[in-house]
Amino acid sequence: MGFGTYVSFTEWGVMGDPQWVGLENFRRALADPFVPKVWGNTLKYGLIVVPATTLTALAFALFVNQRWWGATLARTVFYAPNVVAVTVIGLVWVWLLDTRFGLINQYLGAAGVPNVPWLTNPAWVLFGIALASIWWDAGFSMVIFLAGLQDIPKELREAAQVDGASKFQVLRHIVLPLLRPALSLVATLLIIGTLRVFSQIYVMTNGGPANASASVIMYIYRIGFREFELGYAAALSLMLFATILVVTAVEMRMLRVQRW
């Protein structure tokens, strides 16, 4: 970490020794038009993925937590994508999201929806990647919600039902409020996950088309390991790390406030 901070103040092309350049790398980052671009992409991606994954995972957890036929099967199926390598997620979804022959567009076409250029159009590409990420990730968040659901004392629900509350009222006024710790944990993990999103994008689009899906880490990877400007890459990393720290700190503060 300390070494990384030092390198961020230098100009270093792997060969030879780092040259001290002071704040030059940070000044360059502020002037670099790609920096707001990749941060914007990452933010947009987060705005899609965080709420969508949270809601999907919550619905899954509620479904799986019932005592009806198939609940265990459903839990297994929902979690299964999470154990699979990211290469698989990326490649399988490139094929599923293929504009002309992909499964998704074929079914949408059958429903009368025109072909969506999921991964080839800058306006759609983040949605395409988000679909794959939700499929991959929702199972993990589901398990956190499940643990939260199982922590809710049975007596509370039963008492409410005896008092004549409908199932929906129990969900709205008892289950959801008590799930708040699990909810903030899921949200924090997803936000951090968003800030560090890389491998799906690397496999699915490599940042394209027209850099519309280039995330922050994608850019750091390009600068550091394609153009070998390690000093600048380290400076960009440091900025991302600072952001993640702030997000985590804010989340922890909010979590503590909720406990009061």
Binding site: M1, G4, V7, V14, F60, F63, W68, G70, T76, V77, F78, Y79, A80, P81, V83, V84, A85, V86, T87, V88, L91, V92, W93, V94, W95, L96, D98, F101, L103, Y107, L119, T120, W135, F140, I144, L146, A147, G148, A182, L185, L189, I192, R196, F198, S199, V203, M204, T205, I220, G224, F225, L230, A233, A234, S237, L240, F241, I244, L245, T248
Partner: protein, 294 residues
């Protein structure tokens, strides 16, 4: 039919469970539909991998291959897949074993030993949990490059040996373990190491299983780091090597290459999916213990 009581009575007989309200039925059916949709990508992947090139891009959806072929698998095995598989196995098992041992020992030390600076040290260990690996990857890579630790097994394995997650998991486990057994062993004259290896570690089996599974999948699926330190074809791990089958998006080549790509992905998926299906209870318990307490 003796006890067919009025609907909704609190003391309804077990039969009452079979009466399903339409809302519940619809919810259940919807959920099951989603389950099918969630499994569909896997089915489609396997199905595509068995199709002949001409049958892959069809104007209508064909879930079952018209003519089954192993041609795609043959194409995949033209690459050094077995070598990649061996690399992955060596790297993932060694890294998992080493981080289990180091995690168990460090976790035990944090839980049981009194030494100056223990609190501060443990806080520092936890703090690194907040730092995503991608953050440290540039300095880490520079360090490894300088030490000439690239393109060999040590380069793959070393960064994952000190697993904070594993330290944390074991510390929590040992804290919940009653001290008396270990004290008894000490009284009988066993040293610290004896006590650890013959009393504490065997008792920690559940923690070992949970940690082993989670660490192994993480190591098996690792992507960014192996991508960086593998300079030559024969040093790639399976996930990195299989990524070379990625068809360029929108490119013409992609029309030809989905068959082999899906075959490669099937090969890559089967081990992790099998392990998951066999040990799924431990998987989910492991996530709960980490997710909630972490």
């Amino acid at each position: 039919m003796v006890s067919a009581g009025a609907p909704g009575t609190a003391a309804a007989p077990p039969r009452a469970r079979w009466r399903v309200s339409p809302v519940v039925a619809v919810l259940w059916a919807l959920g099951m539909l989603v389950v099918v949709a969630w499994a569909a990508p896997f089915v489609w992947m396997v199905s595509t991998s068995l199709k002949q090139p001409g049958d892959i891009m069809t104007p209508t959806i064909e879930w079952l291959p018209r003519r089954v072929t192993s041609e795609n698998y043959a194409k995949v095995f033209a690459q050094p897949v077995l070598r990649w598989l061996v690399n992955s196995l060596i790297v993932a098992t060694t890294a998992t074993a080493l981080s289990l041992i180091s995690g168990a020992m460090a976790g035990y030390a944090f839980a049981r030993l009194q030494f100056p600076g223990r609190g501060v040290l443990f806080f520092l260990v936890l703090a690194t949990l907040m730092i995503p690996s991608e953050m440290t990857i540039v300095p880490l890579f520079i360090g490894f490059l300088r030490a000439d630790l690239v393109n060999n097994y040590a380069a793959f394995i070393l960064p994952s040996v000190a697993s904070v997650f594993s330290v944390y998991l074991f510390r929590q486990f040992f804290l919940s373990l009653p001290r008396e057994l270990e004290d008894a062993a000490r009284v009988d004259g066993a040293g610290r190491f004896r006590t650890f290896f013959s009393i504490a570690l065997p008792l920690a089996r559940p923690a070992v299983i949970a940690a082993a599974i989670l660490l192994f999948t993480t190591n098996w699926n690792a992507f960014l780091w192996p991508l960086l330190v593998a300079f030559t074809e024969e040093m790639k791990t399976l996930p990195v090597g299989m990524a070379t089958f990625a068809p360029g998006v929108g490119g013409q080549t992609q029309l030809q290459s989905f068959g082999p790509a899906m075959a490669a992905m099937t090969i890559l998926t089967i081990p992790s999916l099998l392990v998951f299906l066999v040990l799924q209870r431990y998987f989910i318990e492991g996530v709960i213990s980490v997710g909630i307490k972490g």
